[in-house]
């Protein structure tokens, strides 16, 4: 099967598997939250630069706030 013939589910499975996000190990949650926060920040930077997609920008900012709260809480454990 070529990558072009792969179903969306196959592709998503491969992506998440490579990123270690299908079954996150016990002690990896704080690190994964930090990685997710960075990914959202990168996207938010792009959106701010484009300055023409306020809805997606607001959505990313909301997610970023959530991830920051989770990051702080999990690091205290």
């Amino acid at each position: 099967m070529t990558s072009q013939n792969k179903s969306d589910e196959d592709t998503a499975w491969d992506l998440l598997s490579e990123a270690g996000l299908i079954d996150i190990p016990d002690d990896a949650f704080p690190k994964r939250v930090t990685e997710a926060k960075r990914a959202v920040m990168e996207r938010l930077d792009e959106l701010i630069e484009l300055s023409s997609h306020p809805r997606e920008c607001d959505s990313a900012a909301y997610s970023l706030a959530t991830l920051k709260k989770l990051e702080i809480t999990l690091k205290q454990k």
Binding site: S7, D8, E9, D10, A12, W13, L15, L16, A19, L21, I22, D23, I24, D26, D27, F29, R32, V33, E35, A36, A39, V40, E42, R43, L47, L50, S52, H53, R55, E56, S59, A60, Y62, S63, T66, L67, K69, L70, T73, L74, K77
Partner: protein, 135 residues
């Protein structure tokens, strides 16, 4: 119906209906449980057992391969924000994601998977349509 008979019906009638016995992989090896409810998360289905454990579909013996997943664009803003509020609430309540098969771990795992697919890998161009990201 016996537990064994219910289990044999599972693959033919996927996803399992309520009150069926499932076998799933765990750190301790294969375990079984009785399904109370099946619930869609942001990416995959979770099977909630009668004892409260939450098992992702892909850990259940006999699940479809590849499992049927939702795409990030199928998730509305309100659904995502509800999930985010629940996660913050559970974290504030002192729940620990290291506890196996518990709701906080299950929901946080899915949220991180969803966030990766949405932001990191796909890197979609901003959707300019009127309906984009609307509940």
């Amino acid at each position: 119906m016996t537990a064994a008979a219910k289990h044999s019906d599972l693959s033919a009638n996927w996803p399992s209906s309520e009150s069926q016995v499932i076998t799933f992989s765990s750190k301790e090896g294969p375990l079984t449980g009785v399904v109370k409810e099946i619930r869609w998360g942001l990416v995959w289905r979770d099977f909630i057992l009668e004892d409260g454990r939450v098992i992702p579909e892909h850990r259940i013996v006999g699940h479809p391969n590849p499992p049927v997943w939702r795409k990030p664009e199928e998730i509305s803003q309100s659904e995502r924000e509800e999930c985010e509020r629940r996660l913050v609430s559970m974290a504030d309540a002192g729940l620990d994601p290291r506890n196996d098969e518990q709701p906080f771990r299950a929901e946080l795992n899915q949220y991180l998977a969803y966030t990766y697919l949405r932001y990191k890998q796909a890197k979609p161009k901003p959707d300019t349509s009127e309906n984009a990201d609307v509940a």
